[in-house]
């Protein structure tokens, strides 16, 4: 928690401010969401770390995918992810987004989330306890510090791969591609 080291602030203010004011998008995807309210309220106060829930993806830079991801929710997740402004981080919450968890053989859930959107951090557990979120957040801090939390850059560079995977699962997407696809022949 090097929040009040002025020298670090002056050196790289974008990393520091990116770390210490992670605004989480309040988007209930799966069963894990019941863990998020206790995190925000008085028992495990997330605001200490600068994490507050925001209503719209435009304002958020942290995206908690909590619980299993069904095919229908994936469409909404992709839409919200693409609407978030650039330095954005995704944290997979619980075992289901990692590899499908207990719905590993279900025809309707997505097995590996990072095939469709880049994920920066995972939290094991089904569903994980609120303290696990704090572990994830601190872990994300170190990633940002080391500059390894570059999911959004990866999404930007390999956009046509992601887009192809998404179209393979969801069929056609109504909104146009976020970044111009150079060689959409492949």
């Amino acid at each position: 928690m090097d929040r009040n080291k002025i020298s670090k602030w002056l050196k790289e203010p974008d990393k520091m401010s990116g770390k210490y004011s992670l605004w989480a998008l309040y988007f209930c995807t799966g069963c894990g969401i019941i863990e998020v309210p206790p995190v925000l309220t008085s028992r495990w106060d997330a605001e200490r770390f600068g994490v507050i829930p925001v209503a719209t993806p435009r304002q958020a830079n942290l995206f908690l995918i909590t619980g299993y991801v069904s095919v229908k929710t994936l469409r909404a997740i992709i839409r919200s992810y693409e609407q978030m402004p650039e330095p954005k981080y995704v944290v997979g919450f619980g075992s289901c987004p990692i590899n499908g968890g207990m719905y590993w053989d279900s025809y309707n859930t997505i097995k590996h989330l990072d095939k469709y959107i880049p994920v920066d951090g995972w939290i094991a557990g089904c569903p994980p306890r609120p303290e696990a979120i704090f572990v994830a957040v601190t872990h994300l801090w170190t990633l940002i510090d080391k500059g390894m939390a570059k999911g959004y850059v990866k999404y930007r560079e390999k956009y046509e791969l992601y887009r192809r995977n998404q179209e393979k699962v969801l069929g056609t997407l109504e909104w146009p591609p976020l970044f111009p696809i150079k060689d959409d022949g492949k």
Binding site: K72, K115, K154, K158, L161, N165, K168
Partner: protein, 133 residues
Amino acid sequence: MAKKEEILNVLKSFRDKGYDHLEMVSCVDRIKENKFEIVYILSSYGENETVILKTAISRENPQIPSAIPVFENAEPYERELHELFGIDFEGHPRLTPLLLERKYKIPPFRKDFDTRKYVKEVFDEIPFIEDKK
């Protein structure tokens, strides 16, 4: 085991008797007898009782007249059965997909639908996106 044809007037008779609330329409896949068992659950608020009605239709071309003329609220149940079991309800105004995003050759709730094989075919084919170091 009501006959497929008179299902409607049986339902009508029960409704006139007081069972005016159709709780659910569901289906059991009897793969061994090669039949679908359509189950109607009716209940009446007056006497606080419920009645279960069963009928059987063949698996090859599962067809049954829709219960909407008698109970309008049967419409979503029948759409779900159509989507998950592939049962065709004659006279149903819109048999469009209700829950699932993707198209399935064999309706997923049928016993002969092998989910593991399906998952292997669809999801495992999708390649990971390695970030080349």
